[in-house]
């Protein structure tokens, strides 16, 4: 409710911009968390889908004049398709092998977009045509509209996660993350489940890619396939608490706010300070709460419950 | 030689053992019996310094073990064969045994001890190069026991050494443990196979829910109605 009204309350464009970033990265984190958090498949190559989504919709928009709204969905499906071969390859690997293979696929994809210059503007990239206010083409005059779009995405991501978490699929994912052999032994088709969740995760990540390009008005391989996005997706989830519904959101709120505040306090001083402080804070959080902040909330909640009669505590 | 006085330990907030007092004299074989979760393994872990004490004293030859860092304890000649075949899975059988003699007091006679271990467990000799993690359950158990022997211990603590061993192998193992005991090594044995254990040890303690509830000579315990019904299934 507050979230819905927020743009009306906050007149400051800068603050709204931070909220948009928070929602966007929360959404990316939520998409990542489905696979990385629940099934513990630590992917650091999710930007591959982000970039594919971004490029699909931009190519459709610029070369064929198709609305990014349609492009966004198309991008999602392209990412879903792309996740199949990548998944086929990477899911045979476990632990750090998997992680590094995902990094390599995302990097390779970037290099390919750089190499084939005639296909999608190569390294030079392109800007998004300025259409003024054109909601059908995902261009808005006010920040508030962007805010609502990305809020919608986040809600979508959370609803999907919530549904999955509560269903058999959620149990299967956690089981795979805990011990794949044991999961197989009780009839869990681990490769298939991983493939499915990877497709969903890729689809959602691609949606974020389209939004991102429309929001920053620019696309090039370095941006669309930036390793930082892969890192950020995982980082917000880990700081917030992987495998929890709200973890990525909590993590993003914390990290993005910190970084925005640091940027505005220290951004104009000599190079390096704000990121130095940021990384120190990051280290402190990880050392203090290796399992993420949701663990802290849960502990507090548990302590609260412990003070109540025991029968209240049985799960539904 | 080894003395525990009023030792208590917890896991998180859950008490695992409380006020445990036991003694093992030099050259003596002592048993530690009790149901699942009674706290037998925890007692051994406390001696080895793997769990922190909340109260009590553990002394070995007059040295306060709790004040030593855990890795110094084996140097005193205390070997602990942990519960559940915890071998180093990605090292070969031979390397596992070598590591067993890591402390200086054992290193000098490493080759000789290893001969002995291979003699007791010929299967290990056949599989020197096999990765320990790919050995069968029982083979791993043999390796764990063998690795404990590599320390040339003065006190040998065994946590369920017969777990997963075939009956023939159990016989051999108990025979050898008895022999080692006869040669002067003190033994602290945790074993679910209570009748077997009682035939090997001189004395035993019975733990229930983390407390010592009975103690005595092994034949006394073997004849006790309580022990018979609770642990011998008679």
């Amino acid at each position: 409710m507050i979230l819905l009204l927020l743009p009306q309350l906050v007149s400051n464009g800068f603050a709204l911009d931070i909220f948009i970033r928070i929602l966007l990265f929360s959404f990316i984190g939520v998409a990542w968390n489905l696979m990385g958090g629940y099934a513990k498949q630590l992917s650091l190559g999710h930007v591959a889908y982000f970039g594919l989504g971004a490029y699909t919709s931009t190519i459709m928009q610029i070369d064929f004049n198709i609305s990014p709204w349609i492009g966004m969905i198309a991008g999602g499906f392209v990412a879903m398709l792309a996740s199949l071969p990548v998944g086929w390859l990477c899911f045979r690997l476990r632990g750090p092998y998997f992680t590094i293979a995902t990094i390599a696929t995302a990097q390779a994809l970037m290099l390919i977009f750089l190499k084939f210059r005639d296909f999608a503007w190569g390294a030079e990239g392109t800007t998004i045509p300025n259409l003024g206010s054109s909601p059908l083409m995902m261009q808005f005059e006010t920040k508030a509209s962007y805010y609502y779009v990305v809020l919608g995405l986040l809600v979508l991501g959370l609803v999907i996660t919530w549904r999955i978490e509560r269903s058999w699929m959620g149990y299967y994912l956690v089981a795979i993350g805990e011990d794949e052999d044991a999961a197989e032994a009780i009839g869990v088709n681990a490769p298939r489940i991983k493939r499915h969740i990877y497709m969903i995760s890729a689809f959602l990540t691609a949606l974020a890619g389209t939004f991102y390009v429309q929001y920053i008005y620019f696309i090039d391989p370095a941006t669309a396939f930036s390793f930082n996005i892969s890192i950020e997706a995982a980082l917000v989830s880990i700081v917030g608490g992987i495998g929890t519904l709200w973890g990525p959101v909590v993590g993003t709120v914390l990290l993005e706010t910190t970084s925005a505040l640091l940027q505005s306090w220290l951004g104009s001083s000599t190079g390096g300070i704000q990121l130095t402080v940021y990384s120190l804070i990051l280290m402190a959080i990880i050392l203090w709460r290796p399992t993420g902040l949701m663990g802290l909330f849960n502990d507090l909640w548990q302590r609260h419950l412990d003070r109540r009669p025991a029968r209240m505590r049985t799960l539904p | 030689m080894l003395e525990l006085k009023g030792v208590s330990a917890v896991y998180g907030a859950v008490p695992a053992i409380s006020q445990v007092s036991i003694r093992v004299n030099a050259g003596e074989a002592v048993g530690l019996l009790g149901a699942n979760g009674a706290g037998k393994s925890t007692t051994l872990r406390a001696i080895s310094g793997l769990v922190r004490l909340t109260s009590g004293i553990i002394s070995f030859d007059g040295i306060d073990l709790a004040s030593l860092p855990p890795h110094r304890i084996p140097e005193l000649g205390i070997a602990h064969v942990p519960e559940g075949r915890q071998v180093f899975p990605e090292m070969s059988v031979q390397e596992n045994l070598e590591i067993g003699a890591f402390v200086p007091r054992a290193k000098v006679e490493r080759a000789k001890t290893m001969e002995l271990v291979y003699e007791i467990f010929p299967r290990l000799a056949e599989r020197k190069k096999q990765l320990a993690g790919t050995m069968s359950g029982g083979e791993q158990q043999m390796l764990a026991v063998g690795r404990g022997l590599m320390l040339k211990p003065r006190l040998l603590m065994l946590d369920e050494p017969s777990l997963g061993l075939a009956p023939v192998m159990t016989d051999v193992t108990f025979e050898k443990i008895a022999e080692i005991g006869k040669m002067g090594t003190a033994i602290l044995l945790v074993e679910q196979n209570v009748s077997r254990a009682l035939s090997l040890v001189d004395r035993a303690y019975v733990l229930e829910s983390g407390r010592v509830t009975m103690q005595g000579k092994s034949d006394e315990l073997a004849n006790s109605k309580q022990v018979q019904s609770a642990y011998l299934g008679i």
């Binding site: 805990e178 052999d181 799960l315 | 559940g84 075949r85 075939a166 023939v168």
Partner: protein, 248 residues
């Protein structure tokens, strides 16, 4: 009536080691068969081969007439073969209930139904008091119970148990034996690997003895304990001397 499990000419090599050689045996429906043999005889490997965790070099395994060699473990499980692992593999971060529900989802994807089934299995193995405990906090014994419950929740027709009674004291073994008996009464076919002869003698109708990957004997329990070959390779003279009464 087709036999529950027909193993024929099963082989598996690890490098130069022939872990399982030409093993064949048959388990009739609703029968409890014990697989015994000295350490490293190939019992666990046989389980791995039957349930698809290792691929057999050659040989065939028919479960209710259907070939399972070549199938993935989850397919084998879906056919109704559930197993436990010699070293328990609980889903540590999940509660006992969630662990078992995960098994139950194989037959029923509805959360509420799965929870019902899971509770029943948990009760059956006697873990009801620990329903909400995270699996990693259980004792090894309880973890094995959990593993049984999880396997039962998949509603198998054949249950393969690998040393689920190791580390139990005689009194506890008697309880466990009763449990297996109850499973059998419910119509399950059971293959059990165990070194505790007290338990084997109590539950098994039929015993298959492996040594060095080969089947060296097969028959009714009474015959097996008197078989000199089995005594030499497995039971040891101590057992024969004690006339089978002692705990071993």
């Amino acid at each position: 009536m087709t036999d529950a499990l027909v193993v024929t000419g099963l082989n598996k090599r690890f490098g130069g080691l022939r872990a399982v050689q030409d093993v064949s045996f048959t388990v009739k429906q609703n029968e409890t068969v014990a697989l015994i043999g000295p350490n490293g005889a190939g019992k666990t490997t046989s389980f791995h081969l039957i349930t698809g965790f290792h691929r057999a070099d050659s040989g065939s395994v028919l479960a209710f007439g259907q070939e399972v060699v070549g199938l993935k473990p989850h397919d084998v499980c879906a056919l109704g073969l559930a197993r436990t692992f010699q070293v328990a593999k609980p889903f540590g971060a999940m509660t006992v209930l969630a662990n078992v529900m995960t098994g139950a989802f194989l037959r029923d994807r509805h959360v509420i139904a799965a929870r019902e089934k899971a509770r029943e299995a948990i009760d059956f193995v006697g873990l009801a008091a620990r329903e909400q405990t995270p699996a990693k906090d259980l004792t090894t014994i309880d973890q094995r119970r959990l593993e049984m419950a999880r396997a039962l929740a998949t509603q198998p027709r054949i249950l393969l148990l690998d040393e689920v009674m190791a580390g139990l004291n005689p009194a506890e073994i008697d309880q466990a034996v009763a449990l297996v008996g109850k499973l059998s009464q419910r119509g399950l076919t059971i293959v059990i690997v165990e070194h505790v002869m007290r338990a084997i003698m109590a539950v098994a109708r039929h015993i298959v003895v492996l040594d060095h990957g080969q089947k060296i004997a097969e028959g009714a329990p009474k015959e097996i304990v008197e078989n000199p070959e089995v005594i030499r390779a497995y039971l040891g003279s101590g057992y024969a001397g004690a006339g089978g009464g002692a705990h071993a």
